[in-house]
Amino acid sequence: MKGNIELIKNGKRLDGRLAGDLRDIKIKTNVVKNAQGSAYIEWGNNKIIAAVHGPSEALPRHTANPNKAVVKCRYMMAPFSSSEEHGRSGMNRRAIEISKVTGEVFENVILRDQFPGTEINLYIEVLQSDGGTRAAGITCAAVALAASGIPMRDLPYSVSAGKVGDTVILDLNKIEDNYSDADMPVAILPRNNEIVLLQMDGSLTTKQYSDAMELIIESGKKISAIQRTALLEPYVASENKNKG
């Protein structure tokens, strides 16, 4: 453990969770009227909006692919989103990296060959951050894409795992992210557990890695259920209103 912070006390983490617990997740769809599809997620203290525009004509024209749609993703943290300085002068190196990997996640999920020569714009805006924003952003953007009607192979979810000392923990918050020994965000397609994103800071042994993946896949069932409930909510609500 780096520094002097004790991240696990009596088997409980700083915010009272056990090693394999997720934070509370709430998702709402269609929050931005002018977007093709949008979603808002509250993942613990993370607050993120994702919106989708398109498919539309790819501009500038040289970016277009005549056989497939291109996915252009922009992940950005609001200047007020964290206690450190973020986003004061547009995209920094971290934002560019996350935009790239997030875009690649969705390039593998969207059926791009149905819209040749077009672009799909995906915007992920972090309003408040508390660790694990790229995972929350991907989970939120997947819901926004589904709500926009863009055809996808599956609905991906993403969550991070890490380790403190020898304990593997799930869904790291900001303090754990900064002081833990490893942090591994993973994005997965739930149908066949296909991995579409895997990054890692620090190091894990083979045993720890498989423990972490087990925790992630187990928690993925909960996250997928939350995504599903959020997508169906407007339809279920209007049906109930008519019945009542």
């Binding site: 009607g149 055809p151 397609l189």
Partner: protein, 214 residues
Amino acid sequence: MRKIVIPGELIDEKPLRILDSIVENNKTYSTIMGLYDDEKKSLIPLEGLWYPNRDDQVIGIIEESKLNTETVILNAPYKGLIISKYSEGKMASGDFIEASVKELDKTGTVILTRPRTLRGGKIIKIKPSKINRLLGKNNTMIRQISEGTGTRIIPGLNGMIWLNDGNIDLAIDAINTVCKEAHTSGLTERIGNMLKSTKSTTIITEEKVEEEMI
């Protein structure tokens, strides 16, 4: 039995050829949010995009008028194009038109044919996946709204709708209600009641005004 499915959800254990679905390992999965009917084996999209097909009737707005061609804004990933040999007379930018799709060419432009300028009126955009519900079986729904409000309504499959004359605001309200509740049953009846009740209230207020004036 109808159920709502989301992208990646299993819709059948057998490989089926349904629009908006994929087959993997001899099983069929949905790629969109939709209503799946087990008996009819049909998947109706709840959210979806319009993809140009031959002979689709569309509504558009002229973006730019050049010497021989006009480009058209459609509610779609692709732009429309009218070539002068398919059109009669000149159109100015900003004109509303009704046309049918001739083809989608390799460069990603929708070639339109038989254009007709629509004079005056208003254009609204709705989700293209809701157009079929708005038309209804044998166009019953759209006819009901049109007759109930006295509005001329021309829907385009691309999700743009042209309205003129009559009570346009009420017609737009009705169309929005249809879009919001497209997946529910008994919608035609509810829209009928909505149009009737609004009509009766307007008559009452008119009478009141007359009484007050006397």
